[in-house]
């Protein structure tokens, strides 16, 4: 049984999972902090 597809699949799952988590967390943080700053500047 060739091992390469199993190794590639493991690294792809990990890469996709962590990338999704980092990108979604970063975008949510930027959006929330921008909205909070915008509201604070309103009189």
């Amino acid at each position: 049984m060739p091992h390469a597809p199993f190794i590639i699949a493991s690294f792809v799952v990990t890469g996709v999972g962590i990338s999704w988590l980092v990108i979604s967390s970063y975008l949510a943080m930027r959006r929330a902090e921008a909205s909070a700053d915008e509201l604070r500047q309103q009189p």
């Binding site: 091992h3 199993f6 190794i7 493991s10 990990t14 999972g17 988590l21 980092v22 967390s25």
Partner: protein
């Protein structure tokens, strides 16, 4: 003294002054170490005698497993601090850990299953280690649902905190499962007393664990900052509605 230090960081403004510059450092250092360790592990480590090249899955499977378990330990500690000392950031940090912890537990389960097929000849067995890790993943899902329901109702998620403490019972079960029950999974290779893993794998594995841990830290800080910003927005909207 310890209590005074803890309450010094109870102020969200003070926390943000530290978290804002720390987040990019943790994130970029984590990405660099993780990528470096994975490339090192895949291309520059030898083929193992029994497992062949599938041993290279260790560089993502083991850090994911440790962080899945470490994440719940963090939730339990933060929940105790929230309930006992009413630290305002403890509940926020526990909720911020939940989604990254669940993701790492899922990565551990999926990569373990992929590793099991060529090594054990099966994708899954219902033994102590695999089942208790699956239970941990479901505990994370339950915690996320409970804390979301609590925050929608506007309370301080005391039920989620209690659930976080009770769920910690599963952590020693995962750890000891390969000793208590017959398991396809190998016994612990790294203990406080030493390691049975060859240096050729051990060094990139530790670099990988360090990289994943820094990434985990960056994720928790980002999610805490999001939660604090949302709380500021809510407070401001409430004040505006009062006028």
């Amino acid at each position: 003294m310890r209590r005074r230090v803890m309450h010094r960081f109870a102020n969200p403004a003070r926390f943000l002054r530290i978290a804002k510059p720390l987040t990019p450092w943790l994130l970029w250092l984590g990405i660099a170490l993780t990528l470096g360790a994975c490339l090192w592990g895949v291309f520059f480590t030898p083929t193992e005698r029994l497992m062949g090249d599938t041993v290279k899955i260790i560089f993502v499977h083991v850090p994911a497993a440790w962080l899945g378990m470490g994440g719940w330990t963090g939730i339990a500690i933060a929940s105790i601090v929230q309930l006992v000392w009413r630290h305002p950031l403890a509940g926020v940090s526990a909720r911020a850990i939940a989604v990254p912890g669940a993701t790492f537990a899922a990565i551990c389960l999926i990569t373990g299953s992929i590793w099991g097929r060529p090594t054990w000849g099966t994708w899954w067995v219902w033994d102590g280690r695999l089942t208790s890790m699956l239970v941990l993943f479901f505990l994370y899902l339950g915690y996320i649902a409970l804390s979301n329901a609590s925050s929608e109702k506007g309370d301080t998620s005391r039920v989620a905190a209690v659930f976080g403490i009770i769920g910690a019972v599963n952590i020693p079960i995962i750890n000891r499962s390969v000793i208590w029950w017959e398991s396809q999974h190998q016994k612990a290779s790294i203990t406080l007393g030493g390691s049975s893993i060859d240096q050729a794998y051990l060094v990139p594995l530790f670099v990988s664990v360090a990289g994943f841990s820094l990434l985990f830290g960056a994720l928790v800080l980002m999610r805490m900052r999001t939660a604090l910003a949302e709380m500021r927005i809510e407070a401001r909207m409430r004040r505006m509605a009062d006028y």
